[in-house]
Amino acid sequence: MSQTPLADQLARISRDEFNRYLQDFRPVEGQVIDSLNNSTVGKSMDAAQGDAIRARESLARMRERYGTTVTDAQAVGESRQNSLSGALGTLSAGNNAYLADRDNREQTLAGLMNTGQIIRQQALGNWTSAAGSETQRANTNLANSSAYKQQKDAARQSNVATGVATAATIAAAMI
């Protein structure tokens, strides 16, 4: 039976906490790491095109409602300008999204670096502690083994000395 049941239980509770991290939080780590591959560039460019179309459609509806028109020449110019601006707007949205993604990725990476460092510190801390226990145990075992051997040697020497002394006394008495 263990001499330290509470310490044994403490060790088991500690292990359970590590297991809980593995079960509940390790998947989150995976999600954060996966999010590094997220890109909003495509969505942003699509959204920019959609915004341009909706703005043009909105203007057309208002002209209908107000009963106003533009000349053919103005319509051609307007269309050309819209195309150019639309293309530029889409590219601009993509470019901004790319920069925003990069900023986000760097911040996420920084957060993951902190997470990794904490995990590494804890791993090395646990390892250091276990190695310290191992060393302390090994040293104690070595010292105990040596003391036991010395003890046995001393007992044997004592027995021999007693035997020799007894024999010498008997021999002296016989002379």
Partner: protein, 210 residues
């Protein structure tokens, strides 16, 4: 003769130790049943992506901002570069999506801090528990060794006493035996000498013809 004192009694758990252990058990059980699930819920929800919602809000706000300009242009029948006008809305959407992504990642990273706090506590308690367990095991072995050492010393003292007694006995008994042996040898020598003389007398008489 001294008996070396009374046998030590086993030190039982004190009332304080028992109460502390029970409180600790109650607390950890409560934490596990109440807060651990909440932490899991936090971890699950922290990753939610609000990018579409934030992007949509930016789009709505942008559209509302464009309305006046569109109305003026429509009423005046003048041409308008609607793509250029909507680019502000698009940039708002980009910012909304980026913010959503950031919020999602930050939420997950914050959840990880909670989990890592738990493992940091577990690291400390594991270190302490293994140290206490090892100390106890090593102390047990060292005490066994001390007991064996004391027993060996006792055996050596007994052996020395037995040897000394044997020597004393031999020192007393052997001279007596030696004396007795000498007396017996002397008596035997005397008997032998007398026998020799008798034998010699018989031979003498024979030489004179008796």
């Amino acid at each position: 003769m001294s008996s070396g004192g009374s046998k030590p009694k086993e030190v039982k758990a004190s009332e304080g130790e028992k109460i502390q252990a029970q409180v600790a058990k109650d607390q950890i059980d409560y934490y596990r049943s109440t807060y651990a699930p909440l932490e899991k819920q936090y971890a699950d929800e922290a990753g939610r992506d609000y990018s579409p919602r934030l992007s949509g809000q930016a789009g709505t706000a942008g559209a509302r901002g464009m309305t006046d300009t569109l109305q003026v242009a429509a009423a005046a029948g003048s041409p308008l570069d609607t793509a250029a006008l909507s680019s502000g809305t698009s940039l708002g959407r980009v910012a909304g999506m980026a913010e959503g992504q950031r919020l999602s990642a930050d939420g997950k990273l914050n959840a990880l801090k909670v989990g890592l706090g738990a493992t940091a506590d577990a690291t400390r308690s594991l270190t302490e528990s293994s140290r206490m367990q090892n100390d106890s095991l090593m102390q047990t072995e060292q005490l066994k060794l001390e007991e064996a050492k004391t027993k060996a010393a006792g055996r050596a003292m007994t052996m020395a006493a037995v040897g000394q007694a044997a020597g004393m006995y031999a020192g007393y008994k052997l001279p007596q035996m030696r004396q007795k042996q000498l007396t017996q040898q002397k008596a035997l020598s005397e008997a032998t000498r007398q026998q020799t003389m008798i034998s010699a007398g018989t031979n003498y008489r024979g030489a004179h013809g008796f």
